[in-house]
């Protein structure tokens, strides 16, 4: 990832964008924090939030006309939060705070003429920044008192005027400022600020002040816009003048970086989808609870749309803008640990975040690219995807691959491509599906091969290309048939791997040619769209049409179709981070009360692994007693067995090919496993064949350990990069295995 890419991604995630109220406030008071504190009845802390930003807070909070209210998101859910009322309540009930400590004097003098809100605010801001301010007014505060005095309780204005004195403002009540006095002020002081509405108009220059700087052609003179009635905008003018005067006296640009000085539009998006409409609570100055309740109507705006729908994004306790920086930093680390590797490998690459994000932030793109970079640089942790890639290699090996024309045919118009997980999980369904296709379509060949999705997800472009080459080879040898593909992930992947092939999903085909005989119809299910079907509206529609034809009552989970959730297998999450994958599966399982019907077998198996009843469409189209909603997900060893046996069976029965049986001696060993052993092996990704190898090694070498109490044996073997250990005993001519474990660390010069 380049820095430019990082900035672009960071910009796309709007979680840190300003809430609308803060952006709409001309002086950017943190209204969101204010409401949070008011909602906790922490009046003093809330007052400090206001006093931090507001000039003359005691006065301004009482007079504030709250333009923030017109921007408040709550206005569409009952009515804007009554921020003006809350400000007044706080002013009445919180402990006053002293004015801020001013910066040390810069030795720069500023004259302020006019004591309206603009003049007083300008004086406040500039004194705070260390300017030597003299405010010219015959009776400071009179203009403000005349304009808005009835809204100010006794003593409030006086206290703020006293604060101005504490800040170091000097009041000059004697000097009558005429145009010639103004001229000399401009000579002597470093800058002059005029409060247009509080002075005689003969002092005003002819030109309207510049909207960004409040400057006029006469250098050093700054003028508040005339006729501004809003107290907070008057205060904002005072602050703007202070900003300009600061830049002017420092000789730095008058304009750069001032785009967000006044009110601006923010990109933050806050969903109102699940927000109940609640009407405003009338705030009464002697009732704490009314203030608290009104403040609690504040939505505490933030986006987090993607985090709301994704367990993975929620798990890392932050949001994409932060994540992408963590990933960028991770890539840059030359020495030391890379903390973000697991996070990068835990994204399901499913595209849900991109779909719900108001700015289309795509975590999948970020993570997939990061994985590729890790692979390129040799930084991908071997154990993350190794098992899945080994499994893919096995599925593409000679024990599993089938590429044949229909029995008796020498050409294929179509070829059936069920995908490597269907053959592993439901070989019976595959067999029946193939038979059905042959019966009704004719020359349908069979192509059993992995599409390469695991390699893609693992960031292994080399293995992706290797798989593609093998696929192209076999597809061409079959005469470039149209492919009938069952798995939506295969559909997606094959489009890249075989760009010249015509690909139809089995579901769309069935809708076109009609249902097979003997289906199990009726019943009620919730439909689970696999995440690979997210951008396949036609496929999703065809599936629903099939379910309808089968007279199945279908409920849609809340997140469905384009917004469907991944089951936890996507992106190889279940390999790289099994604990998180389990939670993801559990979350999906809870999305519906009904049993699930789905059309990706991995979704079905993931649901089964967390105890959720689920069927694959094949279970309904080609029913059998053994294939019900409660059948468990087959273990890793069984998956391999299934593929091997399916191939053998089909070649023998359909194509009359005998196996030239070069049996692996390890396979000849008679071994059985206890329940505990099988469970442990599945959890630790240890295959039965791996244990067979251990037993064979033990038998051949005569070396093993024996347990003093149980008399059981313990032996090990390292076929390649993992060492396997097995606890076993002799049993009816063979062995019974009780336990197994493995490790990758190698014993130097140790046993094989």
């Amino acid at each position: 990832m380049e820095q430019a890419d990082l900035r672009q991604w960071e910009r796309q995630c709007i979680q840190e964008e300003t809430p609308r109220c803060v952006a709409a406030c001309p002086i950017h008071v943190d209204a969101k924090l204010f409401c949070s504190l008011m909602g906790q009845r922490r009046w003093d802390k809330a007052w400090q939030v206001l006093a931090k930003t507001m000039p003359l807070p005691g006065v301004l909070a009482r007079l504030c006309d709250a333009p923030c209210e017109s921007a408040c998101v709550r206005k569409d859910a009952g009515g804007a939060v009554e921020l003006g009322e809350l400000e007044r309540y706080c002013a009445e009930n919180a402990k006053p705070v002293p004015p801020p400590k001013p910066l040390p004097s810069r030795g720069k003098r500023v004259a302020v003429v006019g004591d309206g809100m603009s003049g007083l605010s300008g004086a406040w801001e500039m004194a705070r920044r260390g300017f030597d301010v003299t405010l010219y007014s015959s009776e400071p505060g009179r203009h403000l008192r005349e304009a808005l005095g009835e809204r100010l309780p006794d003593g409030v204005l006086e206290r703020e005027l006293a604060s101005l004195v504490t800040l170091g403002v000097r009041f000059d009540k004697e000097m009558k400022v005429s145009p010639s006095v103004l001229d000399s002020l401009l000579e002597e002081a470093d800058a002059v600020f005029l409060d247009s509405d509080a002075i005689s108009s003969d002092l005003l220059p002819a030109e309207v002040p510049d909207e960004i700087t409040l400057g006029v052609p006469r250098l050093g003179l700054f003028v508040a816009p005339k006729g501004e009635a809003s107290p907070v905008l008057q205060a904002a003018a005072g602050r703007r003048a202070a900003n300009s005067i600061e830049r002017f006296t420092q000789g730095v640009s008058m304009v750069s970086g001032r785009e967000r000085e006044g009110a601006y539009a923010t990109r933050l998006f806050t969903s109102l989808e699940k927000v109940e409409s609640v009407a405003p609570v009338a705030v009464e100055s002697d009732s704490e609870l009314t203030a608290r309740d009104e403040a609690r109507r504040c939505l505490q705006c933030e986006c987090l749309e993607c985090v709301k729908v994704c367990e993975y994004l929620r798990h890392y306790k932050s949001y994409p803008k932060v994540y992408v920086r963590q990933i960028y930093n991770n890539e840059s680390i030359v020495m030391g640990t890379r903390q973000a590797n697991t996070m990068i490998n835990s994204c399901m690459l499913c595209g849900l975040c991109e779909t719900v994000c108001p700015e289309d932030f795509d975590m999948a793109e970020v993570c997939l690219q990061a994985r590729r970079t890790m692979v390129e640089k040799g930084k991908m942790p071997p154990s993350a995807h190794e098992f899945a890639l080994r499994d893919m290699a096995f599925a593409n090996g000679e024990q599993c691959v089938v590429a044949e024309h229909a029995p008796g045919a020498d050409a294929s118009e179509y070829a059936f491509f069920p995908g490597c997980q269907l053959t592993a999980s439901d070989p019976d369904g595959v067999e029946k599906a193939y038979a059905d296709l042959r019966g009704r379509i004719g020359n349908v060949g069979l192509l059993l091969h992995c599409c390469g999705a695991p390699a893609h997800w693992a960031g292994r472009e080399d293995l992706e290309a290797e798989t593609a080459a093998s696929l192209v080879d076999k597809w061409e040898a079959l005469g470039r048939p149209k492919l009938i593909v069952s798995c939506p992930s295969c559909v997606k992947t094959l489009r890249h791997q075989l760009p010249d092939a015509e690909i139809t999903s089995h579901w769309s085909l069935l809708r076109a040619i009609g249902l097979p005989q003997g289906i199990a119809g009726g019943g009620a299910f919730a439909v689970n769209d696999p995440c690979a079907a997210r951008h396949e509206p036609l496929m999703r529609e065809d599936v629903r049409a099939l379910l309808d034809q089968m007279e199945i009552a279908v409920t849609e989970p809340e997140l469905t179709g384009q917004t469907t959730e991944c089951c936890g297998y996507g992106g190889l999450l279940s390999e790289a981070n099994p604990q998180l994958a389990k939670r993801v599966a559990q979350r999906r399982a809870a999305a519906a009360d009904e049993d699930f019907v789905t059309y990706c077998v991995m979704c079905r198996d993931q649901m089964a692994r967390v105890g959720k009843r689920a069927v694959h469409l094949y279970d309904l189209l080609f029913p059998a007693r053994s294939r019900c909603a409660c059948r468990p997900s087959p273990g890793y060893s069984d998956r391999r067995e299934n593929r091997i046996r399916l191939r053998e069976r089909l070649l023998r029965e359909l194509w009359r090919k005998e196996m030239d049986g070069e049996t692996d001696p390890a396979d000849a060993i008679d071994v059985s496993f206890t329940e505990e052993a099988l469970e442990a092996m599945d959890e630790r990704r240890i295959l039965k064949t791996d244990i067979r190898k251990v037993l064979l090694q033990a038998r051949n070498s005569g070396k093993w350990f024996v347990h003093r109490e149980t008399g059981r044996f313990l032996a090990s073997f390292r076929p390649s990069i993992v060492t396997y250990w097995a606890v076993f005993e002799n049993h009816e001519g063979g062995y019974l295995v009780h336990d197994a474990w493995s490790h990758r660390m190698r014993i130097k010069g140790g046993q094989p």
């Binding site: 030109e207 510049d210 700087t213 400057g215 006029v216």
Partner: protein, 219 residues
């Protein structure tokens, strides 16, 4: 482009259409030049061909720079609202000491000089070493027959303009094309104009464009 003897840029319709500035783009290119160079309080800027003084006022109000204007036409100066920073003079004979300014600005005026080269030499003279030149004006893709006194008639090819600038002691830093502003003004003139004014020939002619150039005077 004239009607009677009053040049287009002195006619009310142009003032009304283009705003107080009498050229395409209003303040867009003035601001762009100022932003690119980072104008800051304390800089001294000269606007040659300042017209009614709008740019001078703008630069002072917005950028806080000490901006002055030189304008040849007495008629224009009489119409300016405030002349305290404006001086009557021709661009090829500037009443300032050498090296007085941080930057000289000349917008939509150089092509009206009888001798642009002499003008550029003067600009260079009154600029401090390391100071800047901001030029914006028409240019032509092919040599146009000169219509005496009109903007469009005087437009030169960009290459010749570059050459002239470089020959007068400047190094060109940047040239940008902003022809869209020209077409926009021409369109508005068409809409705003009644029957008696002839249409501005500018944007209608092929191969006419508008440029912004920034150059620096060597040390």
């Amino acid at each position: 482009m004239t009607v009677g003897s009053v040049p287009l840029w002195e006619q009310p319709v142009l003032r009304q259409t283009a705003g107080e500035t009498l050229r395409p783009g209003s303040f867009e290119l003035t601001d762009r030049g100022a932003d690119l160079l980072g104008f800051a309080p304390g800089w001294k800027i000269l606007d040659v061909g300042s017209g009614l003084g709008a740019s001078v006022n703008r630069l002072r109000s917005r950028y806080g720079v000490e901006a002055y204007g030189v304008e040849q036409s007495i008629r224009q100066l009489e119409q300016a609202s405030d002349t305290s920073n404006l001086v009557q003079a021709t661009g090829d004979s500037l009443p300032f000491a050498g090296g007085s300014f941080h930057a000289v600005l000349c917008e939509c005026a150089l092509s009206l000089f009888p001798n642009p080269g002499a003008g550029l030499a003067e600009f260079q003279r009154v600029t401090m070493p390391g100071g800047f030149l901001i030029l914006s004006d028409l240019f032509a893709d092919r040599a146009a027959p000169a219509e005496p006194g009109s903007c469009a008639g005087r437009a030169m090819p960009l290459a010749s303009i570059r050459q002239q600038v470089e020959c007068n002691g400047y190094e060109i830093l940047r040239v940008e094309e902003h022809t869209v502003l020209l077409k926009d003004l021409a369109a508005r003139l068409v809409l705003a104009g009644g029957g008696s004014e002839k249409e501005c020939g500018c944007a209608g002619r092929k191969g006419l464009g508008y440029y912004l150039m920034i150059a620096v005077k060597g040390y």
